[in-house]
């Protein structure tokens, strides 16, 4: 399966297992979603479980919170992460705080799916990576898969989770793993071991990172599409790096991070999101606090620049093989 099919399969499996799972969002019903992630679900489960909504993000999330309070397990979709901002009040002030403020009387067991990230000439409002906004909110979990196999297992775990989960899907790798070489023909998931997705139910627990590659000289922390760009760059350069795909940003798998950095003594963080106050800053602080005496070089961050996401200069902005390669050379020189 490609990643879209894996995500579709996760919702299919959960809707089959749990009659309280409902899917809602713009164009998700009859049409099956602008990325086809919900294709066929309305036909199979009916309009009262999979339905199209008006174009109002605060409404979609607000309604999902109310449905959650009733006892359902809603899986709302926000068409692009760039359009999640109108729903911020409902996510930050309501979904994230409902359990806490009612001392457990009411909960918001919702999973907000949203395609995110760049690399598709999406320009300013179809490319953003706003995960840092959500990792800053107590009461929300943030999950980002990087393979079809993980996408299905993590989405099932997110839907089963009794807390609100933001599930960001890297749309650049919906159809194939992107190595950052925009000038080469794109690959699809066919034949990739990570795309061998089981048909039925399985879950990957939230809060657990995945070691993509084991190495000795450098730890690279990444997630989403960057996992593939980093892997390919490391392979091309012949660097013996430890690559960790975080998968869940909050709560983060701190043991995996600590063990790796203490082993390698060097840490690099790669994300597409803009740098200042991005999630990389939190990662950097955690590593500095916990691995200070093991560090042999300053922690490096390769991120999007502190600018809105550009259209024509996309490949100058995107943390691709060139930028990652230079950072690797720099961190290994020290």
């Amino acid at each position: 399966m490609n990643m879209v099919q894996a995500i579709n399969s996760a919702m299919d499996v959960m809707m089959e297992r749990d009659p309280d799972v409902v899917v809602l969002g713009e164009d998700v019903g009859y049409f099956g979603g602008v990325f086809r992630a919900t294709a066929g679900l309305q036909q199979k489960y009916g309009k009262t479980r999979v339905f199209d909504t008006p174009i109002t993000e605060c409404g979609i999330i607000g309604v999902a919170v109310g449905m959650g309070a009733y006892g359902l397990r809603p899986v709302p979709e926000i068409q692009f992460a760039d359009y999640i901002y109108p729903a911020l009040d409902q996510l930050v002030s309501e979904a994230a705080r409902l359990r806490y403020r009612s001392a457990g009387e009411f909960t918001a067991p919702i999973t907000v799916r949203s395609p995110f990230g760049g690399g598709i000439f999406g320009g300013q409002t179809h490319s953003q990576s706003p995960e840092g906004i959500f990792t800053h909110v107590s009461g929300i979990k943030t999950v980002i898969p990087s393979t079809p196999y993980d996408a299905k297992g993590l989405l099932i775990a997110a839907i089963e989770d009794n807390d609100p989960v933001i599930f960001f899907e890297p749309k650049r790798i919906y159809n194939g793993p992107f190595d950052g070489h925009y000038d080469r023909p794109s690959k699809n998931w066919a034949g990739n071991a990570d795309a061998q997705v089981l048909e039925g139910y399985y879950r990957i627990d939230l809060g657990k990172a995945r070691t993509v590659r084991e190495g000795e000289v450098l730890t690279i922390l990444c997630y989403g599409a960057m996992v593939h760009v980093v892997s390919s760059t490391v392979a091309e350069m012949g660097i013996d790096a430890d690559i960790i795909d975080l998968r869940t940003l909050v709560p983060i798998d701190i043991e995996a991070v600590e063990a790796s950095v203490k082993k390698t003594g060097r840490c690099m963080i790669v994300h597409e999101a803009t740098r200042t106050s991005g999630f990389g800053a939190e990662l950097s602080a955690l590593v500095q606090e916990r691995c200070f005496y093991a560090l042999e070089a300053p922690i490096e961050r390769v991120t999007g620049f502190d600018t809105p996401y550009p259209h024509s200069l996309e490949w100058a902005y995107f943390p691709g093989p060139v930028r990652i390669g230079e950072a690797i050379k720099k961190i290994l020189k020290d």
């Binding site: 409902v22 009262t48 479980r49 909504t53 008006p54 109002t56 605060c58 409404g59 999330i61 607000g62 309604v63 999902a64 919170v65 109310g66 449905m67 959650g68 309070a69 009733y70 006892g71 359902l72 809603p74 109108p86 009040d89 409902q90 002030s93 309501e94 705080r97 409902l98 359990r99 806490y100 403020r101 009612s102 001392a103 457990g104 009387e105 009411f106 909960t107 107590s138 009461g139 979990k141 989770d161 009794n162 807390d163 809060g207 909050v250 709560p251 983060i252 701190i254």
Partner: protein, 423 residues
């Protein structure tokens, strides 16, 4: 063509900024207010098409006339026992408010908000709903809990953030939550409960349930985007929900004109969404009951949502942190032409021969005594500022279902710091 020269002949544009009719020191005269006589507004069938009841959004449903008789098609013909219970619940709500306002002034809690003058809006509505219909209130519908016989001591425990507070001192006073009383957790963020109520109602409909939902928000909050989302969703899915707009004329210091009241009514918002809209006398408990019953029957018949504008007046300050004499005339509440909801029901019952001034005075004394005793019982669990009432662990509990490592670590660090400070 020289556009600049042409423009010289146009009158300058001017920006309209609304201004209330009366400011501090002004003499108040509401005689210009267009108030329909009781009993004159028609009562459409509960399943009427919204398009056939547009006039309702500009009228004013009133049952009790100037002589406090129940008149017209909206008279719910309630029995005396129910009316007396309603009167008692409204009076209890006011007595509770009086006591808790004083408790704040005495420093026993940090904050309080009264609903004086608006008791009918919540109490009479609660009487028209089923006990398990889900209410999504704002912070000024304490009458819902009281009408549902919820424990005053429990409410006070929350206000005092004491050791018996079910919300573990996590919430600002009056932000109650009671799943048992079908009273949704109150949020400080305005209008967020509106789409949530619609979602709850949609879930109930999707599940083939028979319960309905209702939300309450102030007229000021209708300006929030969430209100628009709620109306759109309610209309699109014909959700079994009642959308209550409590138009008490004031949003803190801003008069209703800043929410659009100069141009139209709040009930008229319903017209644009294709929702049934009713504009009612919010100080008339029988009108509130009748309209709520009408809307709940409509919702239960799968005929869709109803938006009800409760036309009322916020008699007191916005909260214990507010001084209304700084922005409005003190005469306003006395001059308010729709009077006081408790006095109106009291006189109605006296007119029916079911009540008298002596019994009412005795009830007020009894309720004040009851509330005082409840307060004493609650205060035995502690009041705000008298030490830390909750175990320190509770600070970290309930952020998530299961406490993740970083919260456990922060909790342990907090304990260590407290221990170290004692040495």
């Amino acid at each position: 063509m020289d556009q600049n020269r042409e423009r010289r002949n146009l009158p300058p544009l001017n920006l309209h900024v609304p201004e209330p009719r009366f400011r501090p020191g002004d003499t108040v005269d509401f005689s210009g207010l267009d108030i329909e006589a009781a009993g004159t507004t028609r009562r459409p069938d509960e399943t009427a098409s919204p398009a056939d009841m547009r006039d309702m959004a500009y009228g004013l449903v009133r049952v009790l006339d100037d002589e406090h008789r129940a008149v017209g098609p909206w008279d719910p013909r309630l029995d005396g026992e129910t009316l007396l219970k309603m009167l008692r619940a409204m009076a209890l709500t006011r007595a509770f408010d009086e006591r808790m306002f004083r408790a704040q002034r005495q420093g026993k809690t940090s904050f309080y908000m009264k609903c004086t003058g608006e008791e009918a809006v919540s109490v009479a509505a609660a009487f028209a709903l089923h006990h398990d219909d889900m209410c999504f209130p704002s912070y000024r519908q304490q009458g819902l809990l009281i009408a549902r016989d919820w424990s005053l001591v429990d409410m006070m425990n929350q206000i005092y953030s004491n050791r018996a507070d079910r919300l573990q001192g996590k919430q600002l006073p009056i932000m109650y939550s009671s799943k048992e009383a079908s009273f949704f957790s109150i949020s400080g963020n305005l209008a967020t409960q509106c789409p949530q109520a619609v979602g709850w109602a949609m879930a109930s409909a999707a599940k083939g349930d028979t319960r309905i939902a209702a939300f309450w928000c102030g007229e000021g909050s209708t300006a929030e985007g969430d209100f628009h989302s709620a109306c759109t969703f309610a209309s699109v899915y014909r959700a079994p929900v009642i959308l209550n707009v409590v138009n008490n004329q004031w949003a803190i210091s801003s008069f209703s004109g800043f929410a659009g009241a100069e141009a139209t009514t709040f009930a008229a918002r319903a017209v644009g969404y294709g929702i049934a809209g009713l504009r009612i006398d919010g100080n008339d408990p029988l009108a509130v009951y009748a309209a709520t019953k009408w809307a709940s029957d409509r919702a239960r018949a799968n005929a869709g949502p109803t938006l009800i504008e409760h036309f009322t007046y916020r008699v007191e300050g916005h909260s214990t942190s507010d001084d209304p004499s700084q922005y409005r005339s003190v005469m306003e509440s006395d001059e308010w032409p729709l009077g006081d909801p408790i006095k109106r029901l009291k006189r109605h019952l006296i007119g029916l021969g079911l009540w008298d001034a002596e019994r009412h005075a005795a009830m007020d004394l009894e309720l004040a005594e009851y509330v005082k005793n409840c307060a004493k019982e609650s205060e035995r669990n502690g009041v705000l500022g008298h030490g830390l009432h909750q175990p320190l662990d509770t600070l970290f509990e309930g952020v998530f279902e299961h406490m993740p490592w970083h919260l456990r670590e922060q909790r342990d660090q907090m304990f260590a710091e407290w221990e170290a400070s004692k040495k």
